[in-house]
Structure formats: structure tokens, C-alpha cells
Symmetry: C2
Subunit: 287 residues, 2 copies
């Protein structure tokens, strides 16, 4: 799976290469006979009967994903209707629907009955708290104030480079900041971003921006965080952390090491957060 044929880059509009019965090892395409009115659809179907097969709807999903990635449809935009996509890709509406179903399950798009299907964005309330799991013991989840301590370019240390899948010494942007909830310093973040994707990111931009950092990244740098993987530990506060978070040295802190990924599962951010969990907790659901 995943690596799909890319015969028709970008467009994939009508008038595509003919077909003569899809040899795709996947779904239906009767190619002949049968009582009803089925025609050989195809388009999006690979030109070569390569050893790489995948269901039609997966190919459609890949094509839609590419349009999302290329910025043809931007966060917040409505994507074309199912009927429209069906005719664009020359498949049935049901096939498009199944592709979109999966994209919706992965939170890349969101369906809204009667309105359309929209590209998700980190501005939405719903999405915000997918990536910030810290909940206060009392009161509603909220977004704290961010205080940027530092934002500079440097050459990636070996460990960070490994996680970002780049070479040691490649350019990265390092950010250090403190998140404050109702006046209390609660989170100390140390962030490394892929240098290539974040040219022009400065402490000023970060400071001026109100709202989730990921919303800034998606709006200003065209980099959308799709998913992340976290490793969580309990650690003791060192002197630096203790000072910045106003807790005694040695206090237990939650250490959250995150790697975030964009389209194509490419890592673009490494983040190490230290959380004070006396009045907040990290919320997780197993299912």
C-alpha cells in the first residue's frame, strides 16, 4: 500500500488516457457482459499493470490527498462535492464517498451535512485539543498564553536529526517557550522544526500570533501537522526547568517527547514538553 502509481500528476481531469478494461487487480470493472449498464470507468488507474495494486477508492483517496497537499484546496476550504469529484475522476459517487470516508476518519477533512466537505484546520476548536491533551482539574480546557523565550536557527544535533529524518548539521529552527494557564507557568516547550519548511520564522511572528502555534504553521508556512507520536515519562525538574516553571528543583514533571508528521508521514517537528501536573492532567482515551 501507500506508494501509488503517479501517472497523472496533479490534474487527473477528464479526457484522460483511454483504458480498455482496467487491469487493476482491485475492484470491479466487469469489462464486459452483465445485464446492467456498467462501463469501464478508469482514470486514476495506473497505465502499467505494475506489481503495485490498490483499490480504486484508495487511488482516489491518494489523488485527493495530493490536491490537499499541493494547496489546491486549503485549510478551511470546501472541497468539490462528491458528484463533482466522481465525474472528475470518472468513478461512481460511492467510490468517492468511501475515499472521503477514510480521509474524514483521519481528520484530514470534515463533512458537514447540507453544506459540503471541508479541509480541517488547526483553528477549529475541535481540532485544537487533539494536540493539547492537558486538561485543568477544575474548569474547561483552555488555551494558555504563550511566552516565547527563544527562536533561532541552528544545525541539527544528531538525535534531533535522526528523529526528523535529516542529516546531522542540517538547518533547524529551535524554539523555547513557556505556556501559562491562568497565571501559572505550566508547560516548558523545546521545539525543533525542519529548517527548510520554516524559513522566516521569528520570535516576533510567534509572539504576535494569537492562537495555536500549529495554526500559524499551517497559515504562514503551508505546513500542516497531521498526526503525532508521543513518548511520556515522569522526570525530576532540573534547575533550568524549575526556575522557568516556578517549582522546586527535583519536582516531578511530565516529560512529553513528540514527533509530528505532515502529509506522507514526513516528520517536521520534534518537541519536548515538560508539564507541571499539580493542577492539570494529561487526558488520554484507550479504545
Amino acid at each position: 500500500m501507500s506508494s501509488l502509481p503517479t501517472s497523472l500528476t496533479g490534474a487527473a481531469l477528464p479526457g484522460a488516457q483511454d483504458s480498455a478494461a482496467a487491469t487493476s487487480g482491485a475492484g470491479a470493472q466487469p469489462s464486459s457482459s452483465s445485464s446492467s449498464s456498467q462501463q469501464p470507468p478508469s482514470t486514476a488507474v495506473h497505465a502499467v499493470p505494475s506489481p503495485t495494486f490498490s483499490p480504486l477508492y484508495q487511488q482516489i483517496k491518494a489523488l485527493i490527498t495530493r490536491s490537499l497537499q499541493s494547496g489546491e484546496w486549503k485549510p478551511g476550504d470546501m472541497i468539490p462535492s462528491e458528484m463533482e469529484l466522481a465525474s472528475r475522476y470518472k468513478v461512481s459517487q460511492g467510490t468517492v464517498r468511501k475515499a472521503i470516508d477514510e480521509l474524514a476518519a483521519e481528520n484530514l477533512v470534515a463533512r458537514r451535512q447540507g453544506k459540503g466537505t471541508f479541509v480541517t484546520t488547526h483553528h477549529e476548536d475541535v481540532v485544537k485539543f487533539r494536540f493539547l491533551r492537558l486538561v485543568p482539574d477544575e474548569g474547561e480546557p483552555h488555551y494558555g498564553a504563550s511566552h516565547v523565550l527563544e527562536c533561532k536557527r541552528l544545525r541539527a544535533p544528531a538525535e534531533i536529526a535522526r528523529l526528523l529524518d535529516i542529516r546531522t548539521g542540517d538547518s533547524v529552527v529551535q524554539i523555547r517557550r513557556v505556556l501559562t494557564f491562568s497565571g501559572e507557568s505550566t508547560v516548558l516547550d523545546e521545539i525543533w522544526l525542519l529548517g527548510a519548511n520554516f524559513k522566516g520564522l521569528t520570535a516576533e511572528k510567534l509572539t504576535e500570533w494569537k492562537g495555536p502555534m500549529y495554526a500559524l504553521f499551517e497559515a504562514e508556512f503551508g505546513t500542516r501537522m497531521i498526526r503525532a507520536s508521543e513518548k511520556i515519562r515522569a522526570v525530576a525538574a532540573d534547575e533550568t526547568a524549575a526556575a522557568l516553571l516556578s517549582v522546586p528543583v527535583g519536582s516531578p514533571l511530565l516529560s512529553v517527547e513528540r514527533v509530528s508528521y505532515t502529509y506522507g508521514d514526513r516528520p517536521v517537528e520534534v518537541r519536548r514538553g515538560l508539564y507541571v501536573t499539580t493542577r492539570h492532567y494529561y487526558q488520554n482515551d484507550l479504545s
Copy 2:
């Protein structure tokens, strides 16, 4: 949603109450006209046009869930084929498919192409690690040895009762145990179980049992853990914990407070775990 009409308990076999056009505010059921060959299906459809509506496939899903809950199909069993269920409930195969799709997404059943659809069980490797997120820094995830310290019945303290949705003083079973990974004490668990569901649970049974505790619960007590919610914090080891986990007093530990639910989102277990995270970490994926 959720609370569905239960007119036809358990069975819902053919020869059900007639129908004369489903007044269900949900899906299709043309009830008349149209060119093709659609008949009013129904069954599983409520007798009264009550204010509670839900799509047909949701009703089917509820009926299947009830059969799972009642033990008609036990963990590990294969459930009837889609065609069989379709004729049992008098709906199309596609509708059953959609119902099963959702159950599979919730991990209540698992589909296996060419074989059938099976009730999931805590014996399966895949499922095991859904509820144990502790991963070693080196090597593969594994299941440690469990050492039961205590297992006794007592009356629920207020806090536990609240979480289990019972009254203070109601009967609960309390278990305390230590999990050891490659010789190192790593997890100290304190567990409270709904007394009513776990009559006859003893330290011997727990000790003799090899494998995940939840597998024992499902096999011996007919209580299946479906999902859980966790609150995670960093805390300092007190004297008891320090002694049992062989760490200095004051060491940072991961505190994991879990509430587990069975069918119908009924809480049946409260668990507080203290994890040593020097050679292990808690793995979590945000998506």
C-alpha cells in the same frame, strides 16, 4: 442516539411484526412508487413512531451489540455472515455491512477476509497492547510478570464509588499488584472492580492466571473491557511505592488513573497505576 427502542428483545428473527411503510425518520424505505423493486423491509424498526429516530444501520448495530453483550456470540467466536444477518434482520447486506464497519472501528469485532467476522478478545496480541501502553526503551513490548499483593472485598470509598457510578459503601473488589519486566519492578497497580460483576475473584485465581488480567475477566466473569479513559500525571514516590518498586522515596513516577467501561459505557473498573519510567515510556499517538 444510543437509547434505542427495544421492542424485539434478543431475537428479532423473521416473521416479525408487519410494517406498512416504515415511518422511521431515518433512511430510505420509499414506501411506494418508484420504478425499481424496493420493498418495505423493516424489522428492527420500532413499532411506535416514537421521538427516537436513528438510521437503520444504527439499529442493526444496536441489535448486534446486544447479541454480543448477551453472550450469544462470545469473544473469539465468528459471528454470522453478512448475508445471514441481512436476512435475519430483513435488511440489505450493505446495511449490515455499515453496521459491522462501525463495530469494527470500535474494536468490538474484527473482520478477516475470506474467513468471517470475529468477536475480539483480550487474548489477541493486537488487542493486548491497546490497554498497556508501556513500551521498553530497548526491545519489543512484552507482558511482564504479575505479582498479586492483595485481593479483597470491601465497601467502596466515596471517590471510587463516584467513579464507578455506585453508592458509597457498595461492594467492590480491591486488588494490589506489581508488574515486573525482565526482573525489574515497574508498575504498582491498585485496582477496584464492581463487586457485583466479580463474585468469586480471589488472589489465587489471579496468581494462577497467565496472561492479561482483562482476558481473565472476560473469560471467567463475562465482563469485557471495551474502552478506558486515563488521567496521567507525574508524582513523587511515597514510602510504600518506593519500597515496592525499589526506587528512592521522592522519585518521579507516572501516575495513571484509569476508568474502564463495558457495554453501554458502564464503568466497571477504576485503576491507579504508578509506573517507573526510567527504562520504559508511555506511548501515545495523536491523530
